[in-house]
Amino acid sequence: MRFAMLRTGIYGVMSMMLLVLMGHHISGAFAHQWLAAGIFLLFAVHMGSHWAWLQNLPRGRYTAIRFVKMVITIVTAMLAVTLLVSGVLMSPIRYLFAFLPIAEQTDVARTLHHYLSYWFFIMIALHIGTHWKRLRKKLSIDTSRKLQPVVVLFATLIAINGAYAFVRREIYRYVFFINPYSFFDYEEHPLFFFLDYISILYLFAGVAALASSPQTRQQLLTD
């Protein structure tokens, strides 16, 4: 239990780091680069501590859910690596890799980094969502029946705000490779930025959690 809490605490920290990384205009380039280095280190630890998962991949029966979860996890990991490489290739330390033929492709690196960062954000949300039940079980979170309507109401409101923010902030235009540059609103209070991005994270995680839980799906089908 205590270990599970520590682990989940680290996941929480990583999620917060990710949110700050999405707000490049709030953190500034310098903090962005150090946060990125930090989160990548934690990613490495995360992958290392789930080595058994990787070893078990060829084993056992594949249900649709297991397959989808695996695809999400692998794509997320690949995106993380691509973001690290493209980020480094734009940063001042790219000169350390001057011997590589891709070293001076800052334009390509930037475009990749821009588009894929939004994909990564969504994939992380899906990754969290598909593991949500497991996390709850490990932490033994159980919402009492009385509180359930309140939780559902709040969850719905956050998800609606997430959908609205996804459209209003034109994130769909980044995800579908339409806008090659992000609009960072310097006049907006960072609080609104973070609230919206938390909502978007919540929306995608929620959808993934619902879709991957057999009970909820059955409920949806039978109702």
Binding site: H25, T106, D107, Y181, F183, F184, Y186
Partner: protein
């Protein structure tokens, strides 16, 4: 005694004229400064001049930039990392005679092109009104108004105009509604 009275009268009249003058918008002397590599920012500068009048000044660097877009982006990244201050071909000769200065530039790497830093650091905008405008690929002003406020601390910097490089056919209407908002 008579002379002193006449002098006093002249001072009052003269003084009131001095106060009255800046209130007339038509008396404001306007300069439109711009830095343009592909011509989009120049288009906006010309449209602003067409609507408000004033003089034009093009910021040009001694060393020219690559014309190929990809090469230009990579080159601009190098300049940004090295905090280069590219030398400019010319200074504005009579900046002190202008009251309002529009400053136009493309957004490079989410900020001002480095020649704009050279420009602001080598001219004094004390007491002037600076009005930024930019052309961009999706980032809009990207915090450059705040950067300009820091580079020209003694100027009054007004809200900027951002024109997307993909919507150049709307330059005229965008400039019109922007100027109306600025009450210019």
């Amino acid at each position: 005694m008579k002379n002193v009275f006449a002098l006093f009268l002249a001072m009052i009249i003269g003084g009131s004229q001095l106060i009255a003058q800046p209130a007339l918008a038509a008396e404001k002397k306007t300069l439109i400064v711009y830095f343009s590599q592909t011509g989009t920012t120049e288009q906006v500068a010309l449209e602003i001049q067409r609507q408000v009048g004033g003089d034009l000044f093009k910021i040009e660097t001694v060393q020219s930039y690559p014309t190929d877009h990809k090469q230009l982006v990579d080159y601009a990244r190098k300049e940004l990392d090295a905090k280069t201050r590219p030398s400019l071909k010319a200074q504005i000769p009579n900046l002190e005679s202008y009251d309002v200065v529009f400053v136009g530039y493309p957004i490079w790497w989410y900020t001002l092109p480095m020649p704009l830093f050279t420009f602001f650091e080598s001219h004094s905008f004390e007491g002037k009104t600076v009005i930024p405008f930019c052309t961009h690929g999706g980032s809009r002003l990207s915090g450059t108004v705040e950067v300009i406020k820091k580079l020209a601390p003694k100027a009054t910097v007004l809200g900027g105009l951002a024109i997307s490089r993909d919507e150049t056919d709307e330059i005229q209407t965008d400039v019109t509604s922007w100027l109306k908002k600025l009450k210019y």
